[in-house]
Symmetry: C2
Subunit: 389 residues, 2 copies
């Protein structure tokens, strides 16, 4: 089967990573249905779909189908699979805030694990056995040795969010071992940052960002006063934590490569790939890079370590390089510049509240188009009849 | 609170381990409500409760309340908590066959993990924060060093059943960390065998037994032809696998001790105890002991190793000895003799099909009573008004 012609269900497709993957899928020619419970994305009442997906259509010039469905609603999920035929599912839907997961473990396990069980059960019943899964470097817990390879020990996770990712991986691995019709690719993300180069799509955290880079960006744009660095006494080159940051566009590209792989002849079973750059950067290095990209000074203070944080985490991604023919291409400079463009164009994220956003966005679109980028503000290609119910 | 006066909900209380714990609780003076989905126990249509629980009442001379409820039915579970007040829950309900779990991982995760999440959610809503949990030595996977202590690594489990036990332990540990009202004791069982000394209660496997000792017992009684030993080339004293067998009555007693512990002042959080004897026995040693107890020869053949089996598994149980003031008292001889009595009196388990069971059972009851045991065939003490709805 030509991977460009497969129909894909994307769960959680309105979120940060999912929406960028949706653009790549649409650009790849795939027919895309997105389900999302809207728990972590902006959708105005008069909009047919979340703003992130409207922009995904705008950037790609292609249409997608959006359905507001929660994976915990088994009946609704079954009805999606009755209405459409899917060759493959990309499963992004999950709660993902480490701190919140420590406060509300039952909610995290129910949402992430039960949601995934529902999805797998319905796929099983529908005869759809191909899945690309959003896993995370968090399954490795506190690394016993670096760089992390796919065979590094997993399971000693340091927080409930990590527990849900580890559990869902176990379920999928067990499922593939029990039934060889299943083809599952688990992509273990390192630290996704950056935004679409158009400035139209990026990360839009609810409230105060949990992750470093969106926080830095909000300090740079003046929304937050200063950054807190959680510990500068780690055993790293400058004492701050080291992570393997990967551009969201490289990450999204990895999903399209995985889709190609899954439809190769003789591919089956449970397969895991690290998606990272293989390069670690400290918090202070990230601040410096962002200051250079934005021309802003990022004030920061050192505070206590956060429980559950590890000193260093970066991967060996040769398996993905080799088997998926995928490699992260974007630089740290790209990550910061793209993030800064998104942040400036959308200081309040997708909602655009209290902000003369449209004129700025229009100006930036023009810049993007002049550089050779395409924006399909009107005249979206509607030549995908599969979407008509 | 006096642990003898607490009311206890027992999930899966009609099963092998649950029913023996129920007897101990009734003898301890506790008010007991049992829920069970009847998936792994015998109940005749005209009986008010499973046969195992009728016998638990008979042995203890106390009444319990039985409700046919599946933990996956959240509404039914909520209604149980609305009808009764519980001070503590003992949670035995789970699917437990390792081989079957490899065939049906989704069913195992749904039943064991989602069932447990439902229970914890409903307990949370009802303000019942005390739980004693049926965990298993399986969470240790293939031991990296022996004997196993509670701090030994967990998570590298070797089958989906073990995955469900590991996951539910993680959930409970995370839950206790998030909310200090919770008091949870996880009891990691080694290999429960044996039966109630009356011969009235014991293990009643569905179909062909999955575990060694019930299999041996069925060979001894003539129901099965010969035993298959899965590998005699392990690095053990006679080449066959070593396990830490514990008498079901000792195990049940551990639960009552845990109940006492949970209601001690200042006890809280997530607490794990190994329940075993600390002694490992090989398959060949178990056969010999059973032959001595039964006077029967157990024919066996050596077959290939089973995937997922470990060479040796036995525990250090000093933590339970010390903190729960609990110690396994029964010998290997007791385990085999009690098991043989149960098997002879109930060659077809609780259903008693095709078998002149009652007269034999009556004879054995007389023997038990003459030895000083009590049987309350009539005149069950109904002085527990909490059971009246």
């Amino acid at each position: 089967m030509d991977p460009k012609k497969v129909s894909v269900l994307v769960t959680g497709g309105a979120g940060y990573i999912g929406s960028h993957a949706v653009v790549k899928l649409l650009e790849n020619g795939n027919m895309v249905v997105v389900i999302d419970n809207l728990s972590n994305c902006y959708k105005a009442e008069d909009q047919s779909m979340p703003e992130s997906l409207l922009r995904a259509q705008e950037i790609s010039g292609k249409k997608l189908k959006f359905l507001s469905v929660d994976l915990l609603n088994l009946t609704a999920l079954e009805s999606v699979f009755k209405s459409y035929h899917f060759d493959c599912v990309m499963h992004f839907a999950a709660l993902k805030a480490v701190g919140e997961s420590c406060q509300r473990p039952l909610q995290y396990y129910r949402n992430n694990v039960v949601g995934t069980l529902n999805l797998l059960d319905v796929m099983n019943k529908s005869g759809c056995y191909s899945l690309i899964y959003s896993s995370s470097a968090t399954v490795y817990g506190d690394p016993t040795s670096l760089p992390l390879v796919e065979g590094s020990p997993t399971g000693s996770v340091t927080n409930p969010y990590g527990g849900t990712k580890h559990t869902t991986e176990m379920i999928m691995s067990n499922l593939c071992a029990s039934d060889d019709r299943w083809k599952i690719v688990s992509l273990r993300y390192f630290n996704p940052v950056g935004a679409h180069e158009s400035g139209l799509m990026g990360e839009d955290p609810n409230g105060i960002p949990n992750n470093l880079m969106p926080y830095i960006a909000q300090v740079a744009v003046g929304k937050l006063k200063e950054l807190s660095i959680y510990g500068n006494d780690y055993n790293t080159r400058d004492g701050t934590g080291v992570r393997d940051y990967i551009h969201i566009q490289d990450l999204a590209d990895g999903h399209v490569k995985a889709l190609g792989k899954i439809f190769e002849k003789n591919f089956n079973g449970y397969n895991v790939y690290n998606l990272g750059t293989g390069q670690g950067h400290t918090v202070l290095e990230m601040i410096k890079a962002f200051e250079e990209a934005s021309g802003k000074v990022i004030p920061y203070k050192i505070v206590q370590r956060r429980s559950g944080d590890v000193a260093e985490c970066y991967c060996n991604c040769k398996l993905a390089n080799h088997e998926l023919q995928w490699k992260a291409k974007k630089s740290l400079k790209d990550m910061c510049e793209d993030m800064w463009r998104w942040q400036q164009m959308n200081p309040n994220g997708y909602s655009g509240i209290d902000n003369n956003q449209s004129s700025f966005a229009d100006k930036a679109k023009n810049v993007y188009v002049k550089k050779g980028g395409k924006i399909y503000s009107s005249g979206i290609d509607s030549n995908n009849s599969f979407l008509e119910e």
